[in-house]
């Protein structure tokens, strides 16, 4: 069907072939993202940014992607000052933006806002995070990072560590990894386990899922250690939080028995989940992961706006 003109609201909107097309495009976009090649693939295109909730890196990476390829952006800068706060519905805001630009990127505090926006808009909509819901470009850049490190996704053993219950990105990532035949290993505190219904849904799609309580053992056998943020708000008191956060901390001792090629990933921003001592190690992939957000979004924007990513 091709991605030109398509909405990307959930990773479920993309077939395996389409995800692979984005990953191929991402590889081709890397020199443009690094600035070693200068591009004008998106010259004359205008992207509307509607970030109705605070965001720095996601927003900046969409802007960077567009500008590096010669395109332009226009944005709602402060939702507190805009018509949104005056009670205009998301539906109407999106109708307006869709009349102005060639595509819309939306960040919104409510789950499902992306889908609603896609229905309201005549132009393609990319969901850049709706509440605790979907954030498909995060999943795409996560996949791009693993693909770059290993050349493949199928058969990878991926440990998902931390908050698997509320984590915005981890459910979409698990879904995509299942589609590619990766093996999922879950390591989380009991109160932050993957919800049972989400797990059943993944297994229903043929995912291989294991749960571990021995983190050291899991790390020894892993190809990827995907670390998520454990948020203070999820715990009743500071002591409980400190205990859980402490036992899920990634440091050199934990990685001592790991495979040489293990990569450690994190959607950033991190707090204390990963010790800074890891930053210089060959295992640390999280800054590369953050960088790959730009070429991934370049590829996706190009495919949606022009039908190709070259």
């Amino acid at each position: 069907m091709g991605l030109k003109g398509r909405d990307v609201i959930s990773i479920r909107d993309l077939s395996r072939d389409e995800i692979e097309e984005v990953l191929r495009g991402t590889r081709r976009m890397i020199p443009y993202a690094e600035g070693t090649k200068v591009g004008d693939q998106l010259a004359g295109r205008l992207l509307m940014l509607a970030f109705l909730e605070p965001s720095t890196r996601t927003r900046l990476s969409f802007e960077t992607a567009m500008l590096r390829l010669g395109g332009k952006v226009a944005s709602i800068t402060d939702p507190a000052l805009s018509s949104v706060k005056k009670g205009e519905s998301l539906h109407d805001t999106i109708r307006m933006l869709s009349a102005y630009g060639d595509a819309i990127v939306l960040r919104h505090p409510n789950e499902g806002a992306g889908r609603l926006a896609a229905q309201a808009s005549e132009k393609p909509v990319i969901n850049a995070g709706d509440g605790a819901g979907q954030h498909p470009t995060q999943t795409l850049l996560d996949l791009a990072t693993m693909q770059e490190a290993f050349g493949t996704l199928s058969g990878l053993r991926v440990v998902l560590l931390g908050d698997l219950r509320y984590g915005r990105t981890v459910h979409s990532l698990a879904h995509a990894l299942a589609v590619f035949g990766a093996e999922l290993v879950l390591a989380s505190p009991p109160s932050l386990q993957l919800p049972e219904d989400v797990r059943e849904d993944l297994e229903h799609q043929g995912a291989t899922i294991r749960e571990v309580d021995q983190l050291h053992q899991a790390v020894r056998e892993a190809d990827v250690l995907y670390v998520t943020r454990i948020q203070r708000e999820r715990f009743a008191d500071e002591a409980e939080y400190a205990k859980v956060a402490g036992s899920y901390r990634v440091d050199s001792a934990l990685l001592a028995g790991a495979k040489t090629r293990l990569i450690v990933m994190h959607p950033l921003p991190r707090t204390t989940e990963i010790a800074p001592e890891i930053d210089g190690s060959p295992h640390a992939a999280y800054f590369r992961q953050a960088f790959l957000g730009v070429p991934t979004r370049m590829a996706l924007l190009s495919l949606i706006l022009t039908g190709k990513a070259v």
């Binding site: 519905s89 409510n110 789950e111 499902g112 889908r115 609603l116 509440g131 989400v198 229903h204």
Partner: protein, 152 residues
Amino acid sequence: MRELKITPIKNGTVIDHIGNGLALEVLRIIGVKDLDKDSTVSVALHVRSQKLGWKDIVKVENMELSPRKVNAIALLAPTATISIIRDFKVREKRVVDLPERIVGIVRCPNPSCITNQREPVESEFDVARRRPVVLRCSYCERLVDDFLLHLA
């Protein structure tokens, strides 16, 4: 001749083989308030059934169900059979078949879902699994298996 638990109706609809205890949900879907004022609604609860053990039956005079209501019944009472009665005889059988998409019948249980904000939008679910039925909100993707508790 079989013993009838409720008086026969001349024209109307019989919804039989409703799972035990679900008749009141079915009545909610039918919308008893909306019926013709001369229509009688008869309900039989806890009736012996060969197939189901126990079942409920609902009969409504002078009414034929819209496709949307048939879909709702398929969701809440998947074992139900619907018969259209004209002049005391069964003239038509409607197959109760769970559609791919459920619109407006169930509310999303996620309070932060965009369908629960002030937006001009109806709730909508895809059927994620059929046996047992699990719905997935088309907006926030929340999975819902206790949808009987969240009827719109």
